[in-house]
């Protein structure tokens, strides 16, 4: 804080000058908004892949298939929450993202979207952690099925040994046995389920409201470029 107090030495201007600068930036912000709309339109034109595997998950309502998870709606968003079977806690950065889920989830069902999180850790671990952090979203365990591996967010011992994994649509070095991602599914009138979209890494950035707010302030996200989320804590672990 002290450091930040002295660091900033900014141009202070009159209201008229400030408005000129602000309107100039607004032109580019509007361009960006239109660009974002066009990108979302391209997402809606992506082809889909029919899912033939029968994934079964363990959740608060017992055993449920991927088709069951739609809960009567036609679209399903799955957040791949990093919580390995042997881990004691969920990933810190995923917890930061998860702090933003419940607010949106008041509204998503009213646009035909069901939202759930899925992890490989056993259900009792997920439920205890969810209670600790005060979350409401539905969280299921994929322990024992291929779901996390098929959607490229969990990696095998063999992949670790070979130091070669496929993540975010590219082959790279092994980083961790769990990585973050989000997948979208669609269910048609016949009950067939399709995979429409998955995003990873910074593809998840726009879902974090805190970042969107920080992108407006003079200091920005103010992150360490080598380890961007090193300031993030679980929301019950911040010291002040």
């Amino acid at each position: 804080m002290k450091l930040a107090e002295t660091e900033l030495n900014r141009e202070i201007v009159s209201e008229a000058e400030w408005l000129v600068a602000r309107k100039d930036l607004l032109t580019r912000e509007k361009e960006f908004t239109r660009q974002r709309d066009a990108l979302s339109a391209a997402r809606r034109s992506l082809p889909m892949v029919k899912i033939d595997k029968d994934y079964v998950f363990e959740g608060p309502d017992g055993k449920e298939t991927l088709a069951d998870l739609f809960d009567g709606r036609s679209q399903l968003i799955v957040y791949h929450f990093m919580f390995g079977p042997d881990w004691d806690e969920g990933c810190k950065s995923c917890s930061y993202l998860a702090d933003h889920f419940d607010g949106a989830n008041w509204h998503l069902p009213h646009r035909d979207v069901t939202f759930v999180a899925i992890s490989r850790a056993p259900l009792p671990k997920l439920e205890a952690y969810k209670k600790r952090l005060g979350w409401r979203f539905k969280w299921l365990s994929s322990q024992g099925n291929d779901f996390n591996f098929d959607y490229h967010v969990s990696f095998t011992k063999e992949e670790e040994q070979k130091n070669k994994v496929y993540y975010n649509y590219a082959t790279g070095e092994f980083i961790s046995d769990e990585l973050p991602g989000l997948s979208v599914f669609y269910k048609d009138e016949n009950g067939d389920v399709f995979h429409t979209y998955s995003a990873y890494a910074r593809g998840l950035d726009h879902l974090v409201g805190t970042y969107n707010f920080l992108d407006l302030v003079p200091k920005g996200r103010d992150e360490n470029p080598d380890s961007t989320m090193d300031w993030v804590r679980r929301h019950d672990e911040y010291l002040a």
Binding site: M1, E11, I12, V13, E17, W18, A21, L25, E29, T33, R36, L39, S40, A41, R43, R44, L46, P47, M48, V49, K50, S74, I77, Y96, D99, H100, G103, A104, W106, H107, L108, R111, D112, V113, F115, N168, Y169, V184, D188, H195, Y197, A199, G203, D205, H206, L207, G209, T210, N212, L214, D215, L216, V217, P218, K219, G220, R221, V232, Y238, A240
Partner: protein, 250 residues
Amino acid sequence: MKLIEMKTPTIVSAQEWETARQQLLVKEKELTRARDALAAERRRMPWLAVEKNYKFDGPKGKVRLLDLFEGRRQLILYRAFLEPGVKGWPEHACVGCSMVADQVAYVAHLNVRHTTLAFASRASQKDIERVKARMGWEMPWYTITDDFDKDFGVDEWHGTNAFIRDGDSVFRTYFINERGDEQMGNTWNYLDITALGRQEEWEDSPEGYPQTPPYEWWIWHDEPKTADEDRPGLVQLRAARAASKGGDIT
């Protein structure tokens, strides 16, 4: 939700999908970089000194704009419409402002970045406290008592101002409203990655996709069953849309 006439996209093999997805990823990465560049420009905006001594009512009585920082370096202040004359009063804030409020996550993450997020409206503290309790909102929320809303472009429409503090001096660094406020919530961002999108009429979607007018599907989260036609605020929203920018505020 009627999906009967919807022409679904091509159904392809996993390999073909992968190719299409990789092509889209290139465009997504471009947009992420463009967003980073915009945020970099915001960090270089000049500052405007706030000279007037604005006063707000807070839970503990009268406070200055400076006090809204709660000792932190930066303040983001969202102007929400919660006051007599706004549809939904006295049970609710305006439906759109309520949706924005729903999406404010744990503010602890902003606070550790030396940033305070607060809301401000014209309603009394008593009314604000009641609506906050009803909706389960926990962010600080102040009552505007003077020309603050007029001076900061939020007397007639929602908007977000950002301020920085240098000692006891306060500077306005940023202001955004209309669709610019969308990025503060993530419901829109979630919908933008779904197969159907926001399902709003203005969107460029494949033929036959379900689409309804923007704004009209919004709900108060404690009243999800309210039918669109009966919902307080809808008439006002339609009028606002018709009045501004030829019926399109997107």
